[in-house]
């Protein structure tokens, strides 16, 4: 393992061992959710806030399957299309759970779920003024990323591809630029489709990866969760190991001296 215990992942002052954050949506049932999260080794899980079904309040709850004492619940604002909606949602989330660490995402378009950065900046300012620790889903624009860091975000989370698309890391250059300038953790949020995508993100130097669909919509979500755990670890280790330079022509691996 990479420098083992020394390679802690710190967000807003809290240390984590796993650099994989997983969403808890789109699973067949809560049992599968819990098993996939367990297999992924994730310590932080994103959750959504929705109306209680008051006509059938006895239904099982996520918290019955994922203990908030064991996992760090990261409330998100998925589905919010304005700064006001996002701020309202996260204030309610803070009251429901008592957590200051949140994931902000303000979407701009139904078809691409691309972030609306104008609304995102506005919501960030309000939330930070209100005492929240904000991990922010954002575009891959290094100028926007710097602005969000200047506003006080505790993690910058550019998309590697559209949410739920599984297209992989479409923008390695932009992600790399954001990583180089950032003084807070940078995580790829969205776009990962399979384990090699997670490894690519980590090899670029990302501090972590956030994903949901790649695990939940795999044929075997539990096996894919385990693959993602290993890929994130492998990518991180490779990043520190330092890859060999790419060459145009072959270079024999066996010595040429002593050939018969």
């Amino acid at each position: 393992m990479i420098k083992d215990m020394n390679d802690k992942f710190t967000i807003a002052g809290a240390d984590f061992c796993s650099r994989l954050i997983v969403g808890t949506g789109k699973y067949r049932d809560f049992e599968q959710t819990a098993r996939a999260v367990e297999a992924s080794g994730a310590e932080i899980v994103t959750v959504a806030l929705r109306r209680v079904n008051v006509t059938d309040p006895g239904q099982p709850m996520l918290m019955d399957y994922l203990d908030p004492k064991k996992y760090t619940y990261l409330p998100n604002t998925a589905g919010c299309f304005s700064a006001d909606e996002a701020v309202r949602t996260l204030r309610l989330a803070r009251e429901a759970g008592g957590w200051k660490l949140v994931k902000l995402e303000v979407l701009g378009d139904q078809k691409t779920l691309y972030p609306n950065m104008v609304e995102t900046l506005q919501a960030t300012e309000t939330l930070i003024g209100d005492g929240f620790e904000v991990m922010v889903y954002c575009s891959d624009d290094p100028i926007m990323a710097r602005r969000l860091e200047d506003l006080g975000c505790c993690a910058i989370m550019p998309l590697g591809g559209p949410i739920g698309s599984g297209l992989g890391i479409q923008n390695p250059v932009q992600i790399r630029l954001i990583i180089e300038q950032a003084n807070v953790p940078v995580l790829v949020d969205a776009g990962v489709g399979t384990a090699s995508d997670a490894a690519v993100a980590m090899e670029l130097g990302c501090d972590g990866v956030l994903m949901n669909t790649a695990i939940a919509e795999a044929k075997d979500p539990i096996a894919m969760a385990r693959a993602m755990k290993l890929a994130v670890q492998a990518g991180r280790t490779a990043y520190f190991a330092g890859r060999m330079p790419k060459k145009l022509y072959a270079d024999p691996s066996s010595p040429l001296g002593g050939l018969i």
């Binding site: 959710t33 994103t46 806030l49 209680v52 409330p75 009251e95």
Partner: protein, 68 residues
């Protein structure tokens, strides 16, 4: 009886009910939800004292599975 709007639906409840009473009727654990009245969050610590009024618009929310 008074009429309130709960999570978008009209509902009749007894007059003089507190938030705690309502949550009990709904069999909801106060520790696991947040309650908003007329767009203002009601702090958990005050559920016992806050009485619901006719015309109140309440939202009761909780955490569900969700990703990005």
């Amino acid at each position: 009886m008074i009429e309130i709007t709960l999570n978008g639906d009209r509902r009749e409840i007894a007059a003089d009910q507190t938030v705690t009473d309502l949550l009990q009727d709904l069999k909801l654990d106060p520790a696991r939800v947040a309650v908003e009245r007329n767009l203002e969050i009601i702090p958990k610590t005050t559920y016992q004292n806050v009485k619901l009024l006719s015309g109140d618009r309440l939202e009761i929310v909780y955490f569900i599975g969700g990703g990005s």
